[in-house]
């Protein structure tokens, strides 16, 4: 199995959490309580979100399953990536996948671009949320650099996969290439070293920039690899300059609180054995860093400093996701603030007792010895979370549903699925099972070029 070699590839000084977990690996493997079938079923059910929720006319995928939700362009990107896995797994036919992919790529290539407030994109970037039918900007949202990144990465993944000589597949390749070349990454710098989060026609660039360790490695890698508007190498140096190398619970890691930050670039990039300047100095790679971040999430849940219900060895995962708020409740005499959609993280929070099962699953390739028992635990103890598309987004055992009147075992449960959660589940299960998607993305020369320009060396590069 692919994953059996992961730990042999890690010639790093052990963090003590890793040592603790070594025994758990053996227990998992011996007991065999996590079967291939369960992973397969979860992957297929989750994939069905893209099959059933996508608008086949334009390829747009809803941000979530709540009624009237607009499309999230990141979810579209993840759908394009997921289709490649779907074909490999036999969840859908290759022809259907290529048709869906073409519908999306044609839409994005032909949709209006410009500075007007009601178009689909500008400077090659796209608005974060689009109307599911018209494809126009929704909610006066921002032109999003990171969400465009995920969309473009999905297009490039499709181009790498649908590489036959057929007319449809040649068009996929052409459109993906054109979409990538159109993105003006330099414009998004807005005169500074790091890339801005976004732009609005009404107020210009957002105040935020991609600084501090976050999911933007993929953004910088693609931006640096652009043949048309490449980011300067200094931008990546400026990005990593804001990193924080921390020792938490006795474990050294590149800090970021929410787990998704440690996963979303990793969905696409096989970080095993490749290192940038920062990681070379630390003697690990980003794969190992995410492994540590995952173990720390479990440690945090075991320590459970805010005494939330349900947290424990097999119930962990603070990340971006829906929540029961906004609301304030008195819990054990203390005022507790509960959030709605929020990026939750450890150890500084925000933490309102909301666990996202998808966060654990998306760490499957990094720390299977704790993720597999977590999946098993959720399936057995919180099986209410399993519905038509796999795990619902999140739950909060501390927050009692109004209708229940008291805190049940599972408490509040999100009633929605989010494309941004579903994609990583499908892709990370695949990366764990076969490494297929990582292998596929290695073929994307723009990404490889960008990684080299960012200073990555070694391994498959």
């Amino acid at each position: 199995m692919f994953q059996s070699s992961y730990f042999k590839l890690q010639p790093y000084s052990p963090c003590y959490l890793c040592v603790l977990c070594a025994s758990v690996v053996n227990i998992c493997e011996k007991s065999g309580y996590m079967t291939e079938e369960i992973l397969h079923e979860l992957q297929r059910d989750t994939f069905d979100f893209f099959m059933h929720e996508t608008n086949p006319a334009n390829g747009l995928v809803p941000d979530n399953t709540n009624s009237g939700a607009p499309s999230s362009i990141a979810a579209v990107g993840l759908s394009l990536a997921a289709y490649t896995v779907g074909v490999e797994r036999g969840f859908m036919a290759r022809a259907e996948a290529s048709q869906r992919t073409l519908a999306a790529l044609r839409f994005f290539w032909n949709s209006p671009q410009g500075p007007e407030p009601d178009v689909t994109g500008y400077k090659g970037f796209f608005y974060h949320f689009l109307d599911m039918q018209t494809g126009r900007r929704a909610w006066k949202c921002e032109l999003s650099t990171i969400d465009t990144t995920f969309l473009i990465a999905g297009a490039l993944a499709a181009a790498a996969y649908f590489a036959s000589d057929s007319e449809d597949e040649r068009e996929i390749s052409t459109l993906a290439d054109a979409l990538f070349r159109r993105v003006d990454w330099r414009w998004a710098l807005n005169g500074k070293a790091t890339v801005a989060h976004g732009w609005k026609p009404e107020s210009g660039f957002l105040n935020y920039r991609w600084e501090g360790y976050n999911e933007a490695i993929l953004l910088y890698a693609l931006g640096l690899g652009s043949p048309t508007f490449p980011l300067p190498p200094e931008s990546y140096r400026a990005f990593t300059c804001t990193y924080q190398w921390e020792n938490l619970y006795g474990c050294d890691f590149l800090f970021a609180g929410p787990l998704f930050i440690h996963q979303l670039s990793h969905v696409w990039i096989d970080f095993r054995g490749i290192q940038d300047e920062f990681m070379r100095a630390k003697g690990i790679d980003y794969f190992e860093n995410t492994r540590r971040a995952t173990l720390l999430q479990q440690q945090y849940a075991i320590r459970n400093p805010l005494e939330f219900e349900g947290y424990g060895e097999h119930c962990w995962g603070l990340t971006a996701g829906a929540g029961p708020g906004p609301a304030t409740r008195r819990i054990h005499g203390m005022q507790r603030r509960f959030y709605s959609y929020e990026a939750r993280g450890i150890p500084y929070g925000p933490d309102d007792g909301t666990i996202a099962p998808w966060a654990a699953v998306a760490s499957l390739p990094f720390a299977p010895e704790i993720v597999l028992p977590a999946i098993n635990y959720i399936n057995n103890i919180h099986h209410e979370l399993l519905s038509e598309y796999g795990y619902l987004c999140s739950f909060n055992p501390t927050f009692a549903n109004e209708s229940q009147g008291e805190t049940g075992r599972t408490g509040w449960i999100s009633n929605a699925y989010y494309g941004l959660d579903q994609g990583p589940i499908v892709l990370m299960i695949e990366n764990y099972r076969t490494g297929f998607f990582w292998q596929l993305m290695r073929r994307c020369h723009y990404l490889a070029t960008g990684l080299r320009r960012a200073g990555f060396r070694g391994g498959w590069l």
């Binding site: 020792n247 400093p305 005499g333 203390m334 603030r337 500084y348």
Partner: protein
């Protein structure tokens, strides 16, 4: 211009305060022929300089145009901390149930007038430390009036000419006022006037998310005001570590403050007794009706009216008086200290600068400002204290930095106190135990940071701190825990292996 308004209301406490720091019957002394040092401004920097020079036997003149004690005593640290204390009590009572203490009346009844009276009483009580009389007794010639240079070695005050061997400009700073249309017409409060309140404004807008804005927004919220907090940056305390600022942001939100980040105030108008604040965020405008507006967007140095040109002292209105690392101005006879010239506008920084000035100006010293290790603290709840470099700053200087983090939720005393919101972060130069900076978020972070400051000044690393016995249980134990975490990283696999073999052999 600097406010010369008297503290209000004219009650017994403010009368006592004024009698100490600006006695109505004060008679300026006859100037000496020549002073070792003349100091303009009797805030912290001026007072410490004057006490130092007088104590060392020098002839010193101290000039103040308003209230001795400066911002710290009259409109800054002292009044704000007394109010913050009251607000903490109110919050503790609100959360008493979590500690098993039942409070029969809810919501908590707050007598705002009494809160402010307590502040005035304690301020007056403390004021004798900074009184004109006390400094006269210490040996300083205290002049009350406007000072103005008339030459490179002389100045005038209240019609009298003072000649000096050295002089110190310590005129401080005043609150900056943002150029918001309608603000002046509607009226607003700053730190110079907010402590004159005797009646609680039911609805309050706070503009500016720096230390002052954060402290006042939280304190007034906890004292029962409905507070709207407008900050143009994506986070409060934009100069602080993001994790610290985000913890604070969540606490402010939990307290019930209406938070508007990434927002600006487009204009302010008046409708009856209401002030209408037009807040713009991402192109969306919303008008908020309030009773009072507090402005805290930074401080401008007091350089006007001093006729600095006559003394050949260079300055600008943004950074203030230009000084070198020895706090010397462009006129080598004249020094500056405190908020009028320093980036870090803190009382303790002004005090440290004053000590440097005394040594450098009078005793041929070569003490440098850049050599100081300067901690600071924002007195919100939890407090946010910092010393030394931030990680970003270190990495920009290509210093390989590693942070040892102890969340307070893992510290026994913080758990028993119900004060787990926070952390101790100590930054070291990787490959050594040398501390280059630290941030503490804790209810009494300001008390805890001094241990780190001491270690940095004394050149003590984490290895030594880990050998220092800290009383158990204390929140400061988190510092030792961070040091212990560092020590564990020193245990390399080969050492562990050696140790295991030794123990096996000696079993």
């Amino acid at each position: 211009m600097h406010s010369t308004a008297e503290p209000l209301p004219r009650d017994q406490f403010n009368t006592e305060l004024v009698s100490q720091v600006r006695p109505p019957d004060w008679q300026n002394p006859e100037p000496a022929d020549r002073y070792n040092m003349v100091i303009i401004g009797a805030g912290t920097a001026g007072l410490v300089t004057a006490a130092g020079v007088a104590g060392l036997g020098g002839k010193v003149a101290l000039i103040e145009r308003h209230l001795m004690g400066g911002d710290c005593l009259n409109t800054g640290c002292v009044p704000s901390k007394t109010i913050i204390r009251s607000s903490r009590v109110a919050q503790d009572i609100r959360e008493a149930e979590a500690f098993g203490v039942h409070v029969p009346y809810e919501p908590v009844q707050i007598d705002f007038a009494s809160v402010m009276e307590r502040m005035r009483r304690l301020r007056a009580h403390i004021s004798h430390h900074d009184s004109a009389k006390r400094f006269q007794q210490l040996g300083a010639d205290v002049f009350l009036g406007e000072a103005r240079f008339v030459g490179p070695d002389s100045m005038e005050v209240a019609g009298k000419r003072l000649c000096f061997r050295k002089a110190v400009i310590a005129t401080g700073a005043r609150p900056m006022v943002p150029p918001i249309p309608g603000l002046a017409e509607a009226g607003y409060l700053t730190n110079e006037t907010v402590f004159n309140l005797t009646k609680r404004p039911e609805r309050l807008a706070v503009i500016g998310g720096g230390p002052l804005g954060c402290e006042l927004a939280q304190a007034f919220c906890r004292l029962g005001c409905r507070v709207t907090f407008v900050q143009k940056h994506p986070q409060f305390l934009p100069l602080e570590e993001r994790d610290a600022a985000q913890i604070l942001g969540r606490v402010l939100e939990r307290d019930g403050i209406d938070i508007r980040l990434n927002s600006g105030v487009e204009q302010i108008s008046v409708s009856g007794k209401e002030k209408l604040v037009a807040v713009v965020s991402d192109g969306n405008k919303q008008t908020i009706a309030v009773d009072e507006i507090v402005v805290g967007v930074g401080r401008a140095p007091n350089v006007e009216g001093l006729n600095l040109e006559a003394a050949r002292v260079r300055y600008d209105t943004e950074k203030g008086v230009w000084v070198n690392d020895f706090l010397q101005t462009s006129n080598t006879r004249i020094y500056a200290a405190g908020d009028v010239c320093l980036q870090h506008k803190f009382t303790h920084m002004a005090e440290a600068a004053a000590r440097i000035v005394v040594q450098n100006a009078l005793f041929l010293g070569r003490k440098r400002v850049s050599a100081l290790t300067v901690p600071w603290c924002t007195y919100t709840d939890p407090e946010i204290a910092h010393v030394g470099m931030y990680v970003t700053e270190a990495r920009q200087k290509r210093i390989d930095v590693k942070t040892f983090t102890i969340p307070l939720g893992d510290v026994d005393r913080a758990i028993t106190d119900g004060e787990g919101d926070g952390f101790v972060k100590i930054h070291i130069r990787e490959g050594s135990d040398k501390i280059i900076g630290a941030t503490i978020v804790a209810r009494h972070a300001g008390e805890m940071i001094s241990e780190i400051s001491l270690a940095m000044v004394a050149g003590v690393g984490l290895t030594t701190i880990s050998t220092v016995i800290h009383p158990y249980p204390t929140q400061a134990e988190a510092i030792k825990r961070a040091a212990d975490a560092y020590n564990r990283t020193r245990l390399k696999p080969w050492a562990k292996s050696l140790s295991t073999r030794w123990l096996a052999w000696t079993r």
